[in-house]
């Protein structure tokens, strides 16, 4: 036999009178929400912390004398998949090597972090800076001076 439970529509109609309590419960719920903490982060002033391993804007590290750690070996430029790094190495008579020019095209860069891993001198790293903006493509060709201070390019609002 068919043992399926019969749902009587007429009996459900009688529950209509009980609708008022849920309506009031809803009002209480929204009133509680009204005074509870907001989940929105007001972005440029407050921001969510990114992971320590975040791969953002590059930094060329300096040693304690303020000199670049980079010896312009060119390994990063070789390993870079989109070929976003180009540099001009220079060697002094004493054998100290450093880059005369060092450019990273931040538009071409895919932020894979290979340059950081390839570097034998731990001279380049990817920071947590993720929201730098500018008006022209030329502005986003980062040279040595810009690469030394990536924190300056955090977006601060207008």
């Amino acid at each position: 036999m068919n043992m399926q439970k019969v749902i009587r529509v007429s009996s459900r109609r009688q529950e209509k009178g009980k609708l008022i309590v849920p309506l009031l419960k809803g009002l209480v719920y929204t009133l509680k929400n009204l005074f509870s903490k907001k989940v929105t982060i007001l972005y440029p002033e407050h921001r969510r912390a990114v992971s320590k391993r975040w791969r953002g804007l590059h930094r060329l590290k300096t040693d304690e004398n303020g000199e670049l750690k980079c010896v312009a070996c060119g390994l990063c430029a070789v390993i870079c998949p989109p070929e976003a790094i180009r540099m001009t190495p220079y060697e002094e008579d004493g054998g100290t090597r450093y880059p005369l020019e060092f450019f990273i095209d931040e538009i071409r860069c895919i932020y894979c972090g290979f340059c950081q891993e390839a570097c034998p001198k731990d001279a380049i790293e990817l920071t947590g800076v993720y929201d730098y903006v500018d008006y022209t493509r030329a502005d986003l060709q980062f040279d040595i001076e810009k690469l030394k201070r990536p924190e300056d390019f955090i977006f601060k609002g207008k």
């Binding site: 309506l23 929400n33 907001k38 989940v39 929105t40 007001l42």
Partner: protein, 328 residues
């Protein structure tokens, strides 16, 4: 000379009421957006000015700058007339609202209303119904299907709820014995407000008022999800803003009416009457925003069923009971 002074007084009063109400209308949009945001655990407008307080000004400038469009299929005259009807009826309602008890300034008695009509409440009901012509004509004349359905819904809804609203008001008229809004406020002088003496009429009036205002849960004429904004879908620029100003002006007038009819108008301890009036009005406006954030929209047949099968019999029963109690 006396007549000129009288005219000047009236002119100044009209200016004051108009500008105060317009400021309230502008900033109640801000209040609504902030409160809706808070209920949904977000902020709402925060960027323009301190806490977003200049947002209404920015919105006003924006809507002035927008392009004015006139649809090809539209009935041009009515299309332009509709928002004007909407806003002017909403503003006309302000005439009879008593904002406070009369005060004496420099030896002359100043009344805190623009006019004390003998039939004030009838005037309100009549003009409020005219206001629905704005939505109706606007939706119909724009030559848009969504607009037309919105206009149809607006007319059907407003006609059905106007009736129950009037019935709720009748019981108030019965116990206060006056059709004038000032008289109704003065009849609540013993501190026993009409919302305690007529709780059923209070609830009925509130529900019908929400339906008249086109507010959630009765916002079928402009149901965003189904009608793409309903009756005002073809409107742009200042014409659209006029509709919105009318809506918020109606909201204020509704708050003022509930205050006048049920919450004792300007009566209250310590503070001056005008302050009490605005506190109560803002309480009502707050509730309107709060319930908007809470309740979903009615289905069309549910709306009609509620209006005709529940509210109308309740209103009639309320009148009969009130009459019997008064007789005994």
């Amino acid at each position: 000379m006396v007549f000129l002074v009288f005219l000047g007084m009236v002119g100044i009063k009209i200016l004051v009421v108009f500008s105060v109400v317009m400021i309230i209308v502008a900033w109640s949009t801000w209040l609504e957006r902030r409160l809706l945001g808070a209920v949904q655990l977000r902020y709402g407008p925060m960027r323009v000015g301190f806490q977003g307080l200049l947002q209404p000004i920015a919105d006003g400038i924006k809507s002035f700058m927008k392009e004015e469009t006139l649809p090809e299929n539209a009935d041009k005259t009515l299309f332009i007339l509709a928002p004007i009807i909407s806003i002017s009826t909403a503003l006309t309602l302000l005439v009879v609202i008593p904002f406070g008890r009369p005060v004496t300034i420099m030896g002359t008695e100043m009344t805190m209303y623009l006019a004390d009509l003998e039939i004030g409440i009838l005037f309100v009901l009549g003009i409020a119904t005219l206001g629905s012509y704005g939505a109706m004509l606007g939706g119909w004349s724009s030559g848009n299907k969504y607009g037309m359905i919105g206009g149809l819904r607006a007319s059907a809804q407003m006609i059905s709820y106007e009736l129950s609203m009037a019935l709720a008001v009748i019981s108030i008229i019965m116990i206060s014995g006056s059709l004038s809004l000032v008289g109704i406020v003065e009849s609540q002088i013993e501190g026993l407000w009409n919302c305690l003496r007529q709780p059923l009429a209070f609830v009925l009036f509130f529900i019908c008022g929400l339906a008249e205002l086109n507010r959630t849960p009765f916002d079928l004429p402009e149901a965003e999800a189904e009608l793409a904004c309903g009756y005002n879908v073809e409107y742009s620029s200042m014409k659209f803003s006029l509709f919105f100003m009318a809506e918020y002006c109606h909201l204020f007038v509704f708050g003022a009416l509930v205050t006048t009819l049920f919450l004792g108008g300007w009566h209250g301890p310590v503070l001056p009457g005008v302050v009490w009036f605005f506190i109560k009005t803002f309480g009502v406006i707050f509730f309107c925003i709060w319930e908007r954030a809470t309740f979903p929209r009615f289905r069309y047949d549910q709306l009609m069923a509620l209006g005709w099968k529940v509210l109308l019999p309740l209103g009639l029963a309320n009148i009969v009971i009130t009459g019997l109690v008064m007789l005994v």
